[in-house]
Symmetry: C2
Subunit: 105 residues, 2 copies
């Protein structure tokens, strides 16, 4: 799916219930129409040297950069981000217009 | 799209022609049927503190973990990886079965 993507990769702090974080995230995206898709996964294959402690990837898709910006400023997102940020040890965020080079758009 | 995902985020070395790397990657995925989709993007929105120097995300989708493993061992992938690794300053790889929590599978 093309559109504008919001990619978050994280290493949770030890003792964090990743399942609870995920539940919060699923609730969040279900509440906000601007989020067109939400996919996530937990690494099972990468070598430690190559994943560098990161364990989870979260990927949201929006129709446009404007929709993404609206999501960022949404009160539910602001609230969830505050909770989320207390649970993470490391994080990288990338926000980009997505180019589909192969496969379905 | 669900399936098995191979996510690569990178910071290229200064002076690297990212367009050339991308050309190589597009050639690679076009040659290997196991790669069902290939999407990528260059960050335009994230704050430097949150993207930590990373600029590009590359995301490939496979039908199964087995297809991904076959891709990793494919001679064209082995050859391309050698070239790619000389061009990168930082990289994180995550390989995971993808959960579609919202939107089309």
């Amino acid at each position: 799916m093309a559109g504008f993507k919001h990619l978050v990769i994280v290493k949770f702090k030890e003792g964090t219930a990743a399942a609870d974080m995920l539940k919060g995230m699923e609730k969040l995206v279900s509440e906000i129409d601007a989020v067109k898709s939400f996919e996530w996964g937990q690494d099972i294959e990468s070598e430690e040297m190559l994943r560098q402690g990161f364990t989870h990837a979260f990927l949201m898709t929006f129709d446009s950069k404007e929709d993404y910006t609206a999501f960022v400023g949404h009160p539910s997102h602001v609230e969830f981000s505050a909770t989320f940020s207390t649970a993470i040890d490391k994080v990288v965020l990338l926000d980009f217009p997505c180019v589909v080079a192969k496969g379905s758009a």
